[in-house]
Amino acid sequence: MTTTNVSTTAAFGVDDLSVRIGSAQILNGVTWSVERGETLGIVGESGSGKSMTVLSATGLVPRPPAVVTGRALLGQPDGSQSDLLTMTAAQLRAVRGRRLGYVFQDPSTSLNPLLTVERQLTEGLEYHLKMRPAEASKRAVELLEMVGIPDPARRVKNYPHELSGGMRQRVMIAIALSCDPEVLIADEPTTALDVTIQAQIVDIVRSLQQRLGTAVIWISHDLGVVGGLADRIVVLYGGQVVEQADVETLFEQRSHPYTQGLFAARPTLGRTGNELVTISGSPPDPRELPPGCVFYDRCELRLDDRCRTERPPLVELGPEHWVRSFCATPERQEATA
């Protein structure tokens, strides 16, 4: 079914990744990849499987109960790629935190409330880079400075609850980047933050990426945030990739009815009229996915029989622009990125 592939030069990618937990099909044949120095945006509403795609690929979803198939490929320094899903627990540990850094949604719960910022930074340095405690402590201060925390020598001794939300998320970024990973996985890193802080976090990640050459996977439900940041975007719905393209193409020729709905639902400054457009209905229950198109129930363009009974394949609409729909019609309008 899959027609896209993980490129051989990719820093990280998943190939035909499927996840099943009990009777729920959380992910179904998902493929994407991210190159060194590139930012991949993964977009979808809650329940679309967007967090699951990175968590399951990197061994953060317990198996069992989850059954994970496909491949999760990490580019090696020698140019080869190795599959995380076949690694032992110890091999995976050597990858997580060292070569993959994570930033999660809510910094107020993602940091350990009982440990100082310093300890949470140094434990990874000591384990992965075999630093000595004094050396790791010095590095911890440098890392806080790198993510723009003022007075880092003092802040490093603070506990998470003594920091503001934005500062905590900076600490998370510092932890994620502490061992100089090749890939940064940011799972809704700005959702829990104020709008002004959101912009700061986006700026920090962007400038650090340029400096360090890290590949970034930015997961969000917010097309606005991802659109201003990503090079390429993958749209997930019902555990499947429904559209994938580089950011310009997606914004100018969005083709899947769901992607079009996401754009319409985006609150935009200066739009005439006050009503907020929504996509009616709710995402499908992963335990009872429809046999045909997963978006069938909510689609305004559906063609009755075919869409209901036949699962549409991912087809290439233009260069590197993939869409999974029988009724894909590029919507060429108002390129207001």
Binding site: L276, I279, S280
Partner: protein, 299 residues
């Protein structure tokens, strides 16, 4: 996305009526709950029809039959005076239930009322009620109950008062906590803005919405009340000899451990199973009624 949220919210509001039916269905689907209902049904049966069920009266002595081990003549054996242990165990159900139902009833009515007033009106009412509750919580329950019975004089009525008093604060605290979270709900504010009287708001809007934790607490309190009654009777402060009670039978059995194990095993087992049934039902109710644990289980 927001449309999806709206449908979920409306479902939660309109779903509150069938929630009770669904909870009841979920409860009755559990074999544990059925076990509890059978146990409690048996205890109730013994309490109401004890005289008919018991083969002998509680104090029919026959020293020639003293310390008969359990057998066809006496299912649970006989005691030092030749009294039938089975009959005495059956006949103890009535005072046990009488004490626990009345005392929990007192604690429930007084505690919930105080909790409603404190949580709804806040201010000085809240301060006074919660300070009193804090003071009450400083005494271990059993000790306070013993002290109350000690000054009022031993007996069934004083045991009821003592147990009722010591379990009142927990109802006040549970109710107040729930009221505090409910009183900020839009439908309460709506009712207030429409000019509804406080008593009407409290009884038709607040009380139904805080009933779930109170129901759970009631079931658990029955378990505690039965344990407390048995302990008081054990110490000679509850049911007065020669009337039978599980607690006092155990106290008497303590002197005859060498002569008959059955004297201590059966009355204790009766307390244990009854308390277990109330505890299990309480837990089952909590699982069914508490939306927090439900979402936790699902996640």
């Amino acid at each position: 996305m927001s449309a999806a949220q709206v449908t979920a919210d409306t479902a939660a509001v309109t779903g509150s009526a069938p929630l009770w039916r669904r909870s009841l269905k979920a409860l009755l689907a559990s074999p544990v709950v059925w076990f509890c209902l059978v146990v409690l049904g048996t205890v109730l049966l013994c309490a109401v029809f004890g005289e008919q069920i018991a083969p002998q009266s509680a104090n029919e002595t026959d020293v020639s039959r003293a310390f008969t081990p359990p057998g066809p003549d006496a299912w649970m054996g006989t005691d030092d005076l030749g009294r039938d242990v089975f009959s005495r165990v059956v006949l103890s159900a009535a005072p046990t239930l009488q004490v626990s139902v009345t005392s929990v009833g007192i604690a429930l009515v007084v505690g919930v009322t105080l909790g409603l007033l404190a949580g709804y009106y806040r201010g000085w009412v809240d301060v006074v009620v919660m300070r009193v509750v804090d003071v009450m919580f400083a005494f271990p329950v059993m000790l306070l109950a013993i002290a109350i019975v000690a000054v009022l004089g031993a007996g069934l009525t004083t045991a009821i008062i003592a147990i009722g008093v010591v379990y009142t604060p927990i109802f006040a605290r549970v109710t107040r906590a729930s009221v505090l979270s409910v009183r900020e709900e839009p439908f309460i504010k709506a009712a207030k803005s429409l000019g509804a009287r406080d008593s009407r708001i409290i009884f038709t809007h607040v009380l139904p919405n805080v009933s779930a934790p109170i129901i759970v607490q009631t079931s658990l309190s029955f378990a505690f009340a039965i344990l407390s009654e048995a302990a008081l009777s054990f110490l000679g402060l509850g049911v007065q000899p020669p009337d039978p009670s599980w607690g006092r039978m155990l106290f008497d059995a303590k002197s005859f451990l060498n002569q008959g194990w059955w004297l201590s095993v059966f009355p204790g087992a009766a307390i244990f199973i009854t308390v277990l049934a109330f505890n299990l039902i309480g837990d089952a109710l909590r699982d069914v009624l508490d939306p927090k644990t439900m979402t936790k289980e699902r996640a």
